[in-house]
């Protein structure tokens, strides 16, 4: 019992310091925004990075960092942070817009492989909301569905019982579906390793060895998917499906 009490106390203390800390970070963001508006973008990056360094994340914060790097003409970093923002909030229109603009500035124009239509649709639906939004929707739907079940059981009025039954069934189905969406988005961000190329020009090798055959050349700012990792080398795949090996030092994980 005593341990329980101390546990609750420390939790409360933790929450209190957390909120205090959060207000400090909010100040940092405001400072960053001011620096950005004044045109001193490297200052803005510094301020925003403080917040990230303190262990916080927010799609808007990442988006602002991306913007600052863009204004500094550091397109690789801009793309990296936009992609990070996209990870948290996949459907954000502003993030997508700026990411597209930044992608026009880099050297590599890779024609992405066309996805199967149902996959594309599924991804488009998943990207409507963030994982947490889907999870929240799912929870609300689940509870509503259960309430409909209660109505079905408890009501003496025939119409209400019928409504309760069918609505409850439908809403529970939606709850299940949204749960699947949330899970898909979650597993995508969890299991998909992507990275941005940070070397100005780098040759992709056929195997994790400096002496192996040169396959193709990619440039700063290109997004690659990481497939494998062997002793400081990553097996990568670019958007058009080509696969090769790059040293880990030339990449920055999203």
């Amino acid at each position: 019992m005593k341990t329980m009490k101390s546990y609750i106390f420390s939790l409360l203390l933790f929450l209190a310091t957390l909120t205090m800390y959060a207000t400090v970070q909010r100040d940092n963001i405001v400072k960053g925004n001011k620096a950005y508006s004044a045109g001193s973008y490297s200052m803005a990056v510094e301020q925003y990075k403080k917040v990230v360094g303190a262990g916080y994340e927010s799609p808007e914060l990442y988006y602002n960092i991306g913007n600052s790097y863009f204004k500094l003409n550091d397109y690789a970093n801009a793309i990296l942070w936009y992609e990070r923002a996209k990870r948290i909030d996949p459907g954000n229109e502003d993030v997508d817009f700026n990411l597209n603009v930044a992608n026009t500035k880099i050297s590599d124009k890779i024609e992405p492989l066309p996805e199967l239509f149902y996959k594309r649709w599924f991804n488009a639906v998943i990207q409507l909301f963030s994982v947490d939004s889907w999870a929240t929707i799912s929870i609300i739907m689940f509870i509503t569905g259960l309430l409909c079940g209660v109505l079905y059981l408890a009501s003496r009025v025939l119409i209400l019982r019928k409504l309760g039954f069918w609505f409850g069934l439908g809403i529970l189905f939606i709850a299940g579906l949204t749960m699947v969406f949330a899970w898909s988005g979650y597993s995508f961000t969890r299991n998909t390793n992507e990275a941005i190329v940070f070397a100005p020009t780098i040759t992709v090798k056929s195997s994790p060895d400096e002496k192996s055959t040169d396959l193709f050349v990619i440039h700063e700012g290109t997004k690659v998917r990481l497939l494998d990792n062997i002793s400081g080398w990553y097996e990568i795949r670019i958007a058009n499906g080509s696969v090769g090996w790059l040293p880990a030092t030339s990449l920055e994980k999203i």
Binding site: N33, Y36, V51, N67, D94, D132, Y186
Partner: protein, 622 residues
């Protein structure tokens, strides 16, 4: 060829006169020392009519041509005696190719059937030391005099050559220079034909001489020798980049007219006149020559970076800018022309566009460029006119920002920026355009013009900070929110089941006990009847009837009335006669209390009625 024929003719004519026994002399003459590459002649002279000439077999020296035979004869009549002399010359043209001492063996000739040998010669060939700037590679300088007096005649490589001169060998980038190609000649030349002109890579070039200009000739004495000098090409060059630029040599072909002594002197004024007449004596040989000028190296200095204006596009010289607009008040869809004139000296033709921004709603066209440029020997000057045609499509007040132009001034050694005044235009709605109607028609609508593209602005509000990696999905809270409502639901389900079961039990019990209770109440009523308590009796009867209905059909007592009873019984498929009898019994019970007559008789009758209808109902419902 003609010469030869006439020579033969003359020889035939005078052949008979060749009666004098003369000492036959056959000698060879040439240079003792020659330089490598030099061409020179080897001449054999015979003072008699000879034949069957056999030339020497020369080793180590190239034989370019020969033997060329020529004859000269003279007949003298002194005091009645006629003497005749004849001279045969055999000429070779030789070229020394390598150093060393070479021997030219003797040649043979037969005179009157007798063989004569010439002397042999020794020629020393030395290294070519005096190569001139003009790389005169003439190989066929045939201006040698042939004839008896032609001792030591050699070909001179400096007779004709071409040289290139640059007015300035280290100009600034964009600064004009003039390169002049001059031909130097000691012999008459004709048909100058430029076979290869330099491409002037790295330069913008402008020919300063017209193709058909007559060559201006001057005479010039170089190293004591008189040359005729003429400019054959004059080109203005503007370096487009800095650094060391090489102008390739110019190559030309020309025909040098070389005089040859082929006159056949007879000593007779008539003969001389006859043979030296222009028809017979074409004593001029046309020798085709290829000349090559020297390459010219120009080291171009870059323009200073310091103070270079942003709109500088390479103009170097001295310019002025003038801009004018033909009207400042106009109606929509009327054309207005902005005319910008740049005039001055320098690389004016390289100015191909001006820095000009128009209001975005204006329809503009590419400028009409009129250049009026004079190319003179001293350079290029003139003016370049840019005419911009604009058509405003929307009414309003517009300003055209100043036209700017910058150049590098060679005299002041700095950049100079010129700018025109700002023009303001007032555009009124055109008369031919009924504005209000047009706007509704939609024909006037325009696509939005995108002038630039940029990223969207940062987010300032609504930044939702979370601890990195924290996620609602799959967190404890998420699972709790999922599981707790489910548990509540299951709990509800269980409770509801139990409640329903219990409730259904009480209904069954009541149903089963309905008759029993009714009978008990009837027994009570019987007791009340015996004891004569009339009010209690009727209450008991009424209670037993209503209570029976309530329990039997699980209708709460409060909801019971005569009408509701009727409905409920019909629903239970009870016979209509029994229903009416039951209702009659109920109403009889109400009325019998106040009915006249013997109270005990009434009570007896109601009791029997109630007993009977309950039994009937019991049977009916079974």
């Amino acid at each position: 060829m003609l010469n030869r024929i006439f020579i033969s003719l003359v020889t035939l004519l005078i052949g008979t006169a060749n009666l004098f026994a003369q000492d036959v002399q056959f000698t060879a003459q040439s240079k003792a020392v020659a330089a490598v590459g030099e061409t020179f002649t080897l001449i054999y002279t015979l003072n008699a009519q000879g034949g069957n000439f056999r030339g020497p077999n020369i080793q180590g020296i190239d034989m370019l041509s020969g033997p060329n035979t020529s004859t000269s004869s003279s007949i003298r009549m002194v005091n009645g005696s006629t003497s005749m002399s004849i001279t045969y010359t055999y000429t070779y043209l030789l070229q020394a190719t390598r150093e060393g001492t070479f021997t030219i063996p003797a040649a043979t000739v037969s005179v009157n059937g007798k063989q004569y040998s010439s002397n042999s010669l020794s020629i020393k060939v030395i290294k070519n030391s005096g190569s001139s700037g003009a790389q005169n590679q003439g190989t066929a300088n045939q201006n040698h005099g042939t004839g008896s007096s032609g001792a030591g005649v050699t070909g001179n490589s400096n007779d004709v050559y071409v040289k290139a001169f640059a007015s300035n060998s280290s100009p600034l980038q964009g600064e004009g220079i003039v390169i002049t190609y001059k031909i130097f000649t000691k012999v008459p030349i004709a048909q100058i034909n430029i076979s290869k002109l330099s491409s002037f890579s790295g330069f913008w070039s402008q020919n300063l001489m017209k193709e058909n200009d007559k060559l201006q000739q001057t005479t010039q004495v170089i190293d004591g020798e008189q040359y005729v000098v003429a400019d054959i090409r004059k080109i203005a060059l503007f370096p487009l980049k800095s650094g060391r630029l090489v102008i390739d040599p110019l190559e030309l072909a020309c025909v040098a007219q070389v005089r040859r002594q082929t006159k056949t002197r007879t000593g007779d004024p008539f003969f001389d006149d006859f043979f030296n007449d222009s028809f017979f004596n074409s004593g001029v040989a046309n020798v085709e020559k290829t000349l090559k000028s020297n390459p010219v190296i120009i080291s171009v200095r870059p323009l200073p970076e310091e103070g270079k204006p942003a709109d500088f596009s390479g103009a170097v010289g001295n310019f002025t800018l003038h801009a004018e607009i033909d009207k400042t008040r106009l109606k929509t869809n009327e054309a207005v022309t902005l005319k910008c004139t740049i005039s001055g000296r320098g690389n004016i033709q390289l100015i191909d566009k001006l820095n000009l921004t128009f209001p975005p709603d204006f329809e503009t066209y590419d400028p009409k460029v009129i250049s009026d440029v004079q190319t003179t020997a001293s350079g290029i000057s003139g003016n370049q006119v840019f005419e911009y045609l604009m058509i405003p499509r929307k009414p309003g007040k517009f300003t055209i920002k100043p036209v700017t132009f910058s150049y590098f001034d060679l005299e002041k050694k700095r950049y100079i920026s010129l700018s025109s005044p700002e023009f303001s235009l007032e555009v009124e709605k055109g008369a031919g355009e009924p504005g209000a109607v047009m706007t509704y028609s939609g024909a006037n609508k325009e696509e939005i013009k995108y002038i630039g593209s940029d990223i969207r602005h940062i987010k300032v509000d609504g930044i939702n900070l979370k601890i990195a990696g924290s996620r609602f999905f799959a967190s404890i809270g998420f699972w709790l929110l999922l599981v707790i409502p489910l548990l509540f639901f299951l709990l509800f389900l269980v409770l509801w089941r139990k409640l329903a079961a219990r409730r259904s039990d009480t209904v069954l019990m009541k149903n089963l006990r309905a008759t029993k209770i009714a009978r008990k109440r009837l027994q009570k009523a019987e007791e009340f009847q015996k004891s004569g308590r009339q009010d209690d009796f009727y209450i008991a009867i009424s209670q037993s009837l209503w209570g029976y209905l309530s329990d039997k059909f699980s209708i709460p007592l409060a909801e019971l009335s005569v009408e509701s009873v009727h409905e409920a019984l019909i629903l239970k498929n009870v016979n209509e006669t029994i229903i009416s009898q039951f209702i009659e019994t109920l109403s009889n019970t109400e009325f019998a209390r106040f009915a006249p007559g013997e109270k005990t008789v009434n009570m007896e009758r109601i009791y029997n009625e109630a007993l009977e209808i309950i039994s009937k109902m019991e049977r009916e419902l079974r």
